[in-house]
Amino acid sequence: MKKFFLDAREMAHPEPFQISLKYLKEMSNEDYFYMLNTKEPIPLLELAHDKGFKFLTHQDSNKNWHIVISKNSQQNLEELLDV
């Protein structure tokens, strides 16, 4: 299982979106994408949903958003959360 990681907290739009889309296309069924962001990336999540990905979002005590996206519908995403 390969982790595609992106820390987008200091990135300007639309760079995080552009990189995320690249990762989502490259990911195999076993891989997952982990993103750290200051905001919940609704556009990305809607797109991921439309393309059949499963996702989980979580806001930590520092107000950072943790986003986990996987192609595998059986994957327990909460286990992958790093908070």
């Binding site: 990135m11 739009h13 639309p14 552009q18 296309k25 556009p43 393309k51």
Partner: protein, 422 residues
């Protein structure tokens, strides 16, 4: 791009919807430059009144309204989470009516004795703008929880309503269909709503969201995002009432200018606090635009209390035009590369050109230099010179070339690159 609250990028209209407006706006800009060039060399010899009307309305309707309506068709799903169904057909109707309306209006201003042209111009422009307002406002009023941007955009669009009503009234008066007792009163109301309501408030509202997102800056203070747009609207309505009742409007105009000065200062401050400052032409456009807005509003503020020369008055108008154009250019160089890349990428083209391949940042920088020199020369001369006119033509010509290049990249990728399902 970008809503933090409920968008769908998939609901973004096709690229053609936006590009149609942007290309037309660039062509109007080129035509304006050529017209002013011929006027400065006395190839055409229209009166200064006609030249002024043609210049102002080519800029405000042919250029600005085309850019702003095109951008709104694209940005409403994104910034406000609202969707205009079948956008292609509807945008085509607005675009067609607006383009014909502007052309007829310009001819009417050039051939002042033709009443029919004034009537047709008011009909086409009225239909185009009211139809666009209907399409957008009917979706915006359905929003249950407004963001500062969606609220501001709704208010800016609302300010377009009196702009169009009073504009139509003035056109019909020019055509001899009706008679206004005090033409200058209605004219002042018309341009106050157009410049300070519609154009300025739209820019302000959009900036609340895009400055932070595009440039990773601290957010605007809550007092500004919550109250600024509504306060300006109320002041403008009050100003209209005072003008009609023939009460002095000094304090109202000065307050509006002060509020915009505060906004522009905060925007510059935010842009200097970017977390990752890079040499980005779109930031330069924003900074230059805000500096010009400060200049324009400072002169307006001084002019509220003291008698100022017509040269200084002209300086204020030119600075305002420079402000509005700077922000529009900043937005275009963000919107067009992103949309081109996004649509291709979403369609499954693995080799979709990256954003900097669509319009290279260097090309945007070149445009900034041309635009900067154009506005500075215009400010220094406070009149239309052959050099200034030539620079206007080059500025819009360069934008036109960049937009055509982006379209060519888009169609080339669709024709020649391989698609994947993902």
């Amino acid at each position: 791009m970008f809503n933090q609250g409920g968008l769908s990028l998939d609901q973004a209209p096709p690229l053609s919807v936006v590009m149609r407006f942007f290309i037309t706006a660039s062509i109007f800009g080129i035509l304006l430059g050529l017209f002013l060039f011929s006027q400065s060399l006395h190839i055409t010899t229209l009166s200064s009144y006609s030249t002024q009307l043609i210049t102002v309305h080519t800029l405000s309707l042919g250029v600005m309204a085309s850019f702003m309506l095109g951008a709104l068709f694209q940005m409403l799903p994104v910034l406000a989470g609202v969707v205009i169904k079948t956008p292609t057909t509807k945008a085509m109707m607005v675009h067609g009516l607006l383009t014909v309306g502007v052309l007829v209006q310009l001819f009417a201003f050039g051939v002042t004795s033709n009443s029919l042209l004034y009537f047709l111009a008011s009909a086409y422009l009225g239909l185009a703008l009211f139809y666009a307002l209907y399409l957008m406002l009917k979706e915006l009023i359905k929003i249950k929880t407004h963001s500062s941007s969606s609220k501001g955009i709704s208010l800016a669009l609302t300010m377009l309503i009196p702009t169009v009503i009073f504009g139509t009234y003035l056109l019909l008066t020019e055509g001899g269909f009706i008679h206004i007792i005090d033409f200058s009163q209605i004219k002042e109301i018309h341009y106050s709503f157009a410049l300070l309501g519609w154009i300025s408030l739209l820019i302000v509202s959009v900036s609340f969201q895009v400055i932070e997102m595009f440039y990773v800056t601290p957010s605007y203070p809550t007092n500004i995002t919550k109250y600024l747009t509504l306060t300006i609207v109320l002041l403008l309505i009050l100003k209209m009432t005072f003008i009609l009742l023939e009460y002095p409007t000094t304090i109202l105009t000065a307050t509006i200018a002060l509020l915009f000065l505060a906004y522009a200062t905060v925007t510059i401050e935010r842009l200097t606090q970017r977390k990752r400052p890079t040499a980005d032409a779109t930031v330069w456009f924003w900074l230059f635009g805000m500096a010009l807005f400060i200049l324009s509003m400072t002169v307006t503020l001084i002019g509220s209390f003291f008698t100022i020369s017509s040269t200084l008055q002209h300086l204020s108008y030119i600075a305002f035009i420079g402000f509005a154009l700077s922000i529009v250019f900043a937005m275009i160089y963000k919107i067009v590369p992103f949309l081109t890349w996004f649509h291709l990428s979403n369609q499954g083209y693995m080799e979709a050109p990256m954003m900097h391949d669509v319009i290279h940042p260097k090309k945007a920088k070149i445009h900034f230099y041309i635009h900067f020199v154009t506005i500075v020369i215009w400010l220094l001369t406070t009149d239309i010179t052959w050099l200034g006119s030539l620079l206007i033509t080059i500025s819009f010509g360069w934008l036109f070339y960049n937009l055509i290049f982006a379209i060519k990249k888009y169609t080339y990728t669709q024709k020649h690159c391989e698609k994947i399902e993902w």
